[in-house]
Subunit: 220 residues, 2 copies
């Protein structure tokens, strides 16, 4: 029974997902939906990306949180326009919410829109927002068994950012086998691009920036 109810909600929201997808395609904008557990570092990744690329790529952000606008404040401090959506308890963003937020962003001036979904490795991966692609983020502190245990997002993402790799260098504080994650994730998704990064130190981020630049070019 639960399946059919979920399906019904999906169907209703799918109209907005299709609208979003058409709007983005018409305006030739890249729109990336970032999905991860709470605290994997999505906001920090966005802040560093906005800062490093600000002279060549114009970025806007739609921030999803259950409560507070802490993240949109941080993004605005990095110099990018940000629209905060408070879901008030809901565990994922809906396409309808993203539709309203897209209309409030200065789309004409932007090259790239990031959607930072609610921190949740499970539910957001089931809801299409009309985005160009999904980006999965996994922090090394979360453990290397996550693609096996939570396969949906790893199967559906275009890119997996393995964040906080700086923690692997400080006296082996964290046990995390990057090769295991790569192998498990690629079993689910042959085309997945995987970049180990540290949004804190900037390590490995150049590969991610290159991917963004290529993807924006392909979108035009």
């Amino acid at each position: 029974m639960k399946v059919s109810i979920s399906k019904k909600i999906l169907d209703e929201d799918e109209k907005y997902a299709i609208q979003n997808s058409r709007l983005l395609a018409k305006q030739k904008k890249l729109c990336l939906n970032m999905i991860s557990s709470p605290g994997s570092g999505k906001t920090t990744i966005l802040m560093r990306t906005i800062n490093e690329l600000k002279d060549i790529i114009k970025i806007g952000v739609i921030e999803g949180d259950i409560q507070t606008d802490l993240d949109a404040e941080k993004i605005r401090a990095s110099g990018a326009p940000a629209i905060q959506i408070e879901t008030k308890g809901a565990c994922h963003l809906s396409a309808a919410q993203v539709n309203r937020a897209l209309k409030r962003l200065p789309l004409d001036d932007l090259d790239l829109i990031f959607i930072e979904n609610v921190g949740n490795l499970v539910c957001p991966s089931a809801f299409e927002l009309g985005e160009t692609g999904k980006i999965a983020v996994l922090s090394v502190a979360e453990g290397d068994d996550k693609p096996a245990k939570y396969p949906a997002i790893f199967a559906r993402a275009k890119v997996l950012l393995i964040n906080k790799i700086d923690l692997l260098e400080v006296g082996a504080a964290v046990d995390f086998d990057i090769e295991r994650v790569k192998a498990d994730a690629r079993k689910l998704n042959k085309k997945l691009e995987i970049f180990p990064i540290s949004a804190k130190t900037g390590g490995g981020m150049a590969w991610w920036y290159d991917w963004l630049k290529r993807s924006i070019k392909n979108q035009r």
Copy 2:
């Protein structure tokens, strides 16, 4: 509309939650529902707790995962009986699933049953399983803004375990203000017991063990 649908599912499952609650009360068993993001260390906390207390407390575990029985295997290796529930995509355990699992555990021989919920800081906090209480786990790697951003579980838990405090000691690898978390969480929940621990090193775990012993005594 979504609210009423969620409510309907809750109502249906509530019958099982009430059954579970009555069964546990009748048999005077403590049953704790552990809720956190993926990778905060729930399984490691359980393994160490089972090991350290095995001569004085008999523990059984109900393991919830979207996919795989990796965690139940680990728990069984620690010497405790464990029942794995694979939710096959669902983002939280249901009381009906827990009801079936309770019947498969050797309840008469146990003092304490842990339910390790699906790794998700959001959804499991909304679903009553008939447990005696909820335990929230937050790893310091997830950041100190989580009680503000994801208030539901912090408002409803009896205990908050702040895990991986060993990461705070290795060259300030992680920025995490324990006092901020304590203050934000206690704003939501005055009675919340908060124990900073490292399940990896065992640091701080004695407070948690004492709380468990006291709670089992009170249950009898």
